[in-house]
């Protein structure tokens, strides 16, 4: 074929090929033989490849348009991400505000329960470094009229007492502290006892009470305990907790047991400080015994409590 080409002149080749073309044209016009046979061959030689390439091409087109979209999507993604961040922080803030609101509502309700006393709201800003949560720091101090020995309320009951105060802070020892002793009484019968913190009971969420004088066996599970009117430092009538169980002491005169405090000390966030001191009304007598208020009065309490339930002497030694 090559040799034939070389021997032909260009013009001659052109003429020959033109004739071939014209024959082809005439062939297709007059009969179906040429076109159908040629197309059958083409169907095998071309169509499958076109199919494959089309798939590749389609894929490429997809990639291309996908690539074009990436930029748009990226920009969109960035703006959406910032929106998500903003909404997340907003949501967190709102959730915090909601829980804060419910806490403050509870606090407000308690404020209504004890309307007689002037109070100052405060936030717990620090707790002692141990696991005990028995003392904590609040963000109000002498500037807000807080002084040592003021009672602190939280949630729905008594939290503790101010033990130390600074210009804008105060330390509160809670009633679950092992050193804490609170003179309490049963709200219904006015039977007095001493509520004392107990480190070993702290995990179960309970605290002890001792020296309960309950001759009529009226104190039982669920009895409400409030601060007693003979207490030296605690204002009367503040809710302490509910009796969990009662047992008679070996001396057959007093009873002791455990109670569940009205306050959940682990979640305590806001407190109310009653800015009225009990001892100011008691004057000199209270002052003389204040030194013994916080430490182990419980040990001596058992001996004397049986004799006189409400004398001024016992108040001095057992209170807080």
């Amino acid at each position: 074929m090559k040799n034939k080409f070389h021997h032909l002149k260009d013009k001659h080749l052109l003429v020959i090929m033109t004739i071939v073309c014209i024959v082809l044209i005439l062939g297709t016009c007059t009969t179906n033989v040429v076109s159908s046979s040629v197309r059958n061959v083409a169907g095998y030689a071309v169509a499958p490849f076109q199919n494959g390439i089309n798939k590749v091409g389609g894929w490429l087109t997809e990639q291309y348009s996908g690539f074009k979209n990436v930029k748009k999507v990226n920009a969109e993604n960035a703006s959406l991400q910032s929106q998500v961040d903003a909404l997340t922080s907003e949501n967190t803030t709102l959730m915090q505000q909601t829980t804060e609101l419910s806490r403050l509502e509870a606090l407000y309700q308690m404020d209504q329960e004890y309307p007689d006393y002037p109070k100052v709201g405060a936030e717990v800003i620090a707790k002692d470094a141990g696991n005990w949560y028995s003392t904590f720091t609040i963000n109000k101090g002498t500037d807000d009229g807080i002084a040592v020995d003021m009672n602190v309320l939280g949630q729905s009951g008594l939290v503790g007492i101010v033990t130390d105060v600074g210009k804008s802070w105060a330390t509160v020892r809670s009633i679950i502290d092992d050193e804490s002793n609170v003179s309490a009484m049963a709200a219904s019968t006015s039977d007095t006892c001493v509520v004392t913190g107990n480190l070993t009971e702290m995990d179960s969420g309970k605290i002890d009470f001792i020296n309960l004088i309950d001759d009529n066996n009226e104190v039982a599970e669920g009895t409400t305990l409030v601060t007693s009117n003979i207490s030296e430092k605690f204002l009367p009538g503040l809710l302490v907790g509910y009796v969990s169980d009662v047992t008679e002491d070996s001396n057959k005169l007093t009873k002791s047991g455990t109670l569940i405090p009205a306050v959940d000390f682990r979640t305590l966030r806001e407190v109310l400080v009653i800015t009225q001191l009990k001892q100011t009304t008691d004057g000199a007598a209270a002052d003389s015994v204040s030194g013994t208020d916080t430490t182990g009065t419980a040990a001596s309490a058992g001996a004397k409590s049986a004799a006189s339930s409400a004398s001024s002497a016992s108040e001095g030694s057992t209170a807080n």
């Binding site: 260009d10 052109l14 090929m17 073309c21 016009c29 076109q50 087109t61």
Partner: protein
């Protein structure tokens, strides 16, 4: 013979690309006429005979795929390849301006013939409309693709070009 097979393969690949991938990519709504570029390039690089052969095969492929009368496109492309062969004498290795200009002009003529034969004779007298919507974009995009395809074809055919030059010279002397 080997070179003929290479040309057929090239045309076949160009045809497949043109009928599938490139029509998907859709530049300005038209498909670059790779068969035209190949035909013109081969005629330009190798001479009239190669142009005739390339054009004939390219046209035949189009005839087969487009349907209608077989031989029309073969005839058209064959003459295009033949005309391209005249420019072999101004062939300088890889100067790309000449084939681009040739492709531009021949594609324009080719489109003009197709329009005249296939549309104008059917009474489509909106000449300007057809030219702006089809012919001009087609010529433009085909010319642009010439830059790519010609350099590829040049590289593929380099060894054959050197051979062809000698052959041409001897042929020229013989003539």
């Amino acid at each position: 013979m080997k070179h003929k097979l290479l040309i057929i393969l090239t045309l076949w690949i160009c045809f497949l690309l043109q009928s599938s991938v490139l029509s998907f990519l859709n530049f300005f709504g038209v498909v670059p006429n790779l068969l035209m570029i190949t035909t013109v390039s081969m005629g330009f690089m190798h001479g009239k005979k190669e142009g005739i052969f390339t054009g004939f095969v390219a046209g035949l492929l189009l005839d087969i795929s487009y349907g209608g009368i077989i031989g029309i496109y073969a005839l058209l492309y064959m003459y295009i390849g033949y005309v391209s062969g005249f420019f072999t004498e101004v062939y300088f290795s890889n100067v790309i301006r000449v084939p681009v200009c040739m492709v531009t002009v021949l594609e324009f003529i080719y489109d003009g013939i197709i329009f005249a034969a296939g549309f104008l004779l059917r009474g489509r007298t909106n000449v300007w409309g057809y030219f702006t919507s089809v012919v001009f974009p087609d010529v433009l995009i085909t010319a642009l693709f010439t830059f790519i395809l010609y350099s590829i074809l040049y590289r593929v055919n380099r060894s054959y070009i050197e051979q062809g030059k000698k052959g041409r010279q001897s042929l020229w002397i013989r003539d």
